[in-house]
């Protein structure tokens, strides 16, 4: 992988983390915002497979864990997004078959990612809510991500495809 391409992807991931904390707070529903970092990881995994998805997931998750407003144990979002990257990478052929499938995969990934994060909180006793409120948060966040997916997925997919290493020039 070449350095400039990595830099572009790193900037995309950093912007996703910053935007979901700064810009999306104006449109949050009960504090739940679209999970842009998760969508970036999903698209990375669809574009280039589970390994790249896991690397992106680990980096994006770690950044979410460490970026300023975060106060939970570091590594929890990284774990959730690594799993998302792996699982989405496994179904990437299906996800590429139609735009509708890609949106559905985002929804499923959002549910899995947020649930893994919530469960890790329950296991570690770190900022866990009652199960009812957790489910409510997970449902709202899945709906948010489903709403954002039709716009974000094609744009990001094009970006990742163009930045693909070893891609033949047209």
């Amino acid at each position: 992988m070449s350095a400039p391409r990595d830099a572009v992807l790193a900037v995309v991931v950093a912007l996703a983390v910053v935007f979901q904390a700064v810009v999306f707070r104006f449109i949050s529903i009960d504090g739940v915002v679209p999970n842009l970092a998760l969508i970036v990881v999903v698209v990375a995994a669809i574009a280039r497979g589970p390994e790249f998805g896991m690397i992106t997931g680990f980096c994006a998750g770690l950044l979410t864990d460490l970026a300023p407003p975060a106060d939970h144990l570091a590594g929890r979002w990284a774990l959730a997004l690594v799993l998302v990257g792996f699982l989405v990478g496994r179904v990437r052929q299906d996800a590429r078959s139609s735009p509708l499938m890609a949106v559905a995969v985002v929804g499923a990934a959002s549910f899995i990612g947020t649930s893994v994060f919530a469960l890790s909180g329950v296991v570690l006793g770190d900022g866990a809510l009652p199960i009812g409120s957790m489910l409510q948060v997970i449902v709202i966040s899945v709906l948010w991500d489903l709403m954002l997916a039709p716009f974000a997925v094609p744009a990001l997919l094009r970006l990742f495809d163009e930045a693909r290493p070893g891609r033949l020039v047209r």
């Binding site: 104006f26 504090g31 390994e51 975060a70 106060d71 990284a78 496994r90 994060f117 409120s133 966040s141």
Partner: protein, 300 residues
């Protein structure tokens, strides 16, 4: 890799192995952060990331602030909005004044409380904007403010706004600080009932918005908090992390179960956590920083 044969077998193996490695890495990180607590080796990394991303968040917030105001322009014209803002601010100031009157009266009645009331008017504030809000998906209620150590803001300082207590600073970089809101489930504030000075602990429930409530556990379970009682901070030694006498909220209902040894009161916080913008950080008197220090309680 030498064994790169066409076919899916080895590739799948490789991605499985990678998954194992990454999961292990995450678990190691979580364990390190959880076991080491305050001396976590990740704290330097965290503040490093904070000092890089903090200014980025600040710049993004500044760049997007006009859009937020633009949304407001559609609802009503600028001058009306200005009037409303002024009136709302005055209203909440008067409300908090009224709310603390019973407490002040009680305090005055107590002989030694006079000096304390006098010292309470001496709080100094550093004003700051909320620039980023932690997503609810992380199940913790934290915000970033645009004042940091360069303005005299450090860890364990009280954060208030016009309406009442907001939270405390849990982490500070040079230009930004992370504030743990009192509605977070890990937040515990020492609270005092305004009418009878009984003390208790105010815990967050993790939700905000209209249903965002706090739970007050009184130390003395013979005391019955009544509806409408105002809860204020009782304060800690040297005002760390909470200074005394800041209104927290008002008792909305009282829940007492025979199983629980103590009574629980449901407290509605004064601060509106869905619309946080300008907040004040209580700093020690005589703090000098790169932004002006406001002296609170200017009214005699």
């Amino acid at each position: 890799m030498a064994r790169r044969i066409s076919g899916r077998g080895p590739e799948q193996d490789r991605s499985r192995r990678m998954l194992g490695l990454f999961v292990l890495a995450c678990l190691t990180l979580i364990t390190l952060d959880a076991r080491a607590g305050a001396s976590s080796p990740l704290n330097p990394v965290r503040s490093g990331v904070g000092s890089v991303l903090g200014p980025v968040e600040d710049a993004t917030a500044t760049a997007t602030r006009p859009f937020d105001q633009l949304a407001g322009m559609f609802r009503s014209n600028r001058s009306l909005r200005g009037d409303i803002a002024t009136l709302t601010a005055e209203n909440s100031r008067l409300r908090s004044e009224v709310a603390t009157v019973p407490l002040d009266r009680k305090r005055l009645a107590e002989y030694d409380a006079l000096s304390q009331t006098a010292s309470e008017t001496g709080y100094s504030l550093v004003a700051a904007h909320v620039i980023a809000v932690g997503p609810m998906q992380s199940f913790s209620r934290t915000v970033t403010i645009d004042a940091g150590t360069s303005s005299g803001v450090t860890k364990d300082m009280t954060v208030i706004n016009n309406d009442g207590l907001v939270g405390r600073v849990v982490d500070a970089t040079s230009s930004t600080a992370t504030v743990l809101l009192i509605v977070d489930t890990t937040s515990v504030v020492g609270g005092r009932l305004g009418t009878n000075l009984e003390i208790g602990f105010v815990r967050g429930r993790g939700t905000l918005g209209d249903s965002g409530r706090l739970t007050l556990d009184l130390v003395d379970n013979a005391v019955e908090p009544s509806r409408g009682d105002v809860v204020v901070t009782w304060g800690s030694k040297d005002g760390v992390p909470y200074v005394a006498g800041i209104p927290i909220g008002v008792v909305e209902s009282v829940v007492s179960s025979p199983l629980n040894s103590s009574r629980q009161a449901v407290v509605k916080p004064f601060a509106d956590f869905t619309a946080l913008d300008v907040v004040g950080v209580v700093v020690p008197n005589g703090t000098h920083g790169d932004r002006p220090v406001i002296t609170a309680g200017g009214t005699p």
